[in-house]
């Protein structure tokens, strides 16, 4: 039977939202093929509860391994575990296109000798063939491609597919995990403060550009992000990254990250072509810019023409008001 395997990413014993989106995409493909969805979960604890959630979102079976040693991502051990489990023969193996998924999927692809389509935004099956959509050239072109071979690998861009409940058995099946630690060692994690979400993974992004005037004004955007809720990440235009105001990891656009959040708030960003391409597939775009002719307003759903320094604090205050 043509079954589909879906890697479910967790953190601290909790499933990540992107994992549920992957279940929904996997379900789409499995249903078209008449097969089952098997989820694969590696976690330090709590696999039974997470397996129940995965069942609710469409997993017929959950292959789950508990290991304190693999609580954090260990590339080579994870690659072996997934490849061993997938060796049973799956039509397609799904990963979230999160930072972990983008590191893991290519390693598994080699072990399974399978072609990998990364960061896809739509999946479907046509006459038995797997057909996916991939934004390329920083989102300036969309490619529709077929992925061929005995097994195929897909990583799914976060926030694009809406996770939908589809209750299945979610039968828990223990998974033996490899003991190997791998050759790379994490020496240290220097936290930049808080458990920040990657800009490519966050459902809400607040992005700043030159109109923020100075790097110290980013506290205003941090406050706005906080008012928008815990699942908001900060982004930046190329201009302010090149000026050294913000780290490259926050850059949105062709030489940074291509993002598709539910809500993208562009503050003081005029909208260079490469930036627009990198965020135009957001569901809703808000622009705040003092230049009414700025190109950003051409892609924005809602705009305010005004000085970011005044509009942003007012917006934060308005969002904090009790409803």
């Amino acid at each position: 039977m043509p079954n589909v395997l879906a890697f479910a990413e967790q953190r601290d014993g909790k499933l990540r939202r992107a994992s549920l989106e992957v279940m929904t995409a996997a379900r789409t493909v499995a249903d078209a093929l008449g097969g089952e969805v098997h989820a694969l979960l590696i976690a330090p604890r709590n696999t039974a509860a997470m397996a129940a959630d995965l069942g609710r979102y469409g997993a017929d079976k959950v292959l789950a391994g508990e290991s304190a040693a693999l609580a954090q991502y260990v590339p080579e051990a994870y690659a072996r575990a997934v490849a061993d489990a997938a060796g049973a023969g799956y039509h397609t193996v799904f990963f979230p296109a999160s930072p972990m998924g983008k590191d893991l999927a290519p390693r598994v692809a080699v072990r399974l000798d399978a072609a990998l389509a990364s960061d896809v935004t739509a999946v479907g099956v046509e006459s038995g063939e797997l057909v996916v959509t991939r934004p390329i050239y920083g989102g300036r072109i969309f490619a529709t491609v077929t992925v061929e071979g005995a097994c195929r690998i897909v990583s799914l861009r976060p926030n694009v597919v809406r996770a939908a409940e589809s209750a299945k058995a979610g039968t828990l099946q223990p998974l033996a995990l490899p003991a190997e630690a791998g050759r790379t060692k994490v020496r240290e994690l220097k936290a930049a403060g808080g458990a920040k979400l990657d800009v490519a993974e966050a459902p809400i992004v607040v992005s700043g550009g030159r109109g923020m005037k100075a790097p110290e004004n980013w506290s205003m955007l941090e406050e706005l992000a906080a008012a928008l809720g815990g699942s908001c990440a900060l982004g930046a235009s190329r201009a302010v990254v090149d000026a050294g105001w913000r780290p490259h990891s926050e850059q949105v656009g062709q030489t940074g990250k291509t993002v598709s959040p539910q809500l993208y708030v562009a503050v003081g960003i005029s909208g260079a072509m490469q930036h627009l391409a990198g965020m135009r597939s957001a569901k809703t775009i808000v622009a705040i810019n003092k230049d009414a002719d700025a190109p950003i307003f051409k892609v924005a759903d809602f705009g305010i023409v005004g000085d970011a320094m005044e509009v942003v604090p007012r917006l934060t205050a308005e969002l904090k008001k009790p409803r």
């Binding site: 072609a115 990998l116 050239y137 072109i141 061929e148 990657d198």
Partner: protein, 249 residues
């Protein structure tokens, strides 16, 4: 130390892209081509490592058509010591590309292999870790800074919420993102010297790609938006439409 840097010829990221008449490829007419930006960061990293060590060799390697020779020459002008062109049709199937590179690198004596984190055209972000697996080498991805310490490398990599410091034994494969240093421009002297440097060409051992492009299209148009208003007075209306119409907050 012998370092290989994998580079790719891509259209300039500032250029206007048009889908070709076949509907499956980019119209190359009038396009300017460059070394993919992250690959340039990888090359800069390799050149700086060689300079700080005071010894070593940096070889650039590319899978592509004869035209990719232009980017390899540019890399030589920036300071690479040698170049290898594996002639073949570029494919979106990164595993095919990685196999072609691995066939060349498996007995090349590379102590360090650097790749850009992702190519600016296909954005698959997969060739580096695939190459590592094929060569059975450790791999660190998304590295902003790299230092060689004896027989190991210490890498600073961007992760959610901070920077991870990862150590790996050499030989290793590392994919590079933007770090502290901008890629250098070739000097006139470098451009002259590049003409005399070796550029080896051979046919790539490139398996058939298993990702087939059916169609390329411009991104879907967005419906016309609206200006909610001017200045701070427009804020309450913006919050209202986000809550009641867009329902995103």
């Amino acid at each position: 130390m012998k370092t290989y840097v994998c580079i790719k010829r891509v259209p300039d990221t500032e250029s206007r892209l048009k889908v070709g008449a076949d509907g499956k490829s980019i119209d190359g007419a009038g396009l300017k081509y460059i070394i993919s930006p992250y690959d340039e960061y990888a090359l800069e990293t390799a050149l700086r490592q060689k300079e700080s060590a005071g010894a070593g060799e940096v070889i650039v390697i590319s899978v592509g058509e004869a035209t990719s020779g232009e980017q390899l020459r540019n890399a030589l002008a920036m300071g690479a010591d040698g170049a290898v062109l594996l002639r073949g049709q570029p494919t979106m199937d990164g595993l095919a590309t990685a196999r072609a590179l691995a066939a060349e690198l498996k007995s090349a004596g590379a102590e360090l292999v650097l790749c850009g984190m992702k190519a600016a055209d296909d954005e698959q972000q997969e060739v580096g870790p695939m190459l590592a697996e094929l060569l059975d080498l450790p791999c660190v991805t998304g590295v902003a800074e790299l230092e060689v310490q004896g027989g190991s490398i210490v890498c600073q990599r961007e992760v959610e919420g901070g920077t991870e410091v990862v150590e790996a034994p050499l030989p290793a494969v590392v994919t590079i993102t933007k770090g502290k240093f901008e890629p250098r421009y070739p000097s006139l002297k470098g451009i002259m010297a590049a003409k005399k440097k070796p550029l080896e060409e051979k046919d790539a051992q490139l398996p058939a790609g298993r990702i087939q492009v059916r169609q390329l299209t411009p991104p879907p148009e967005r419906p016309a938006g609206r200006i909610v208003g001017q200045g701070v007075d427009a804020v309450p209306e913006l919050v209202r439409v986000l809550r009641e119409e867009a329902k995103v907050i």
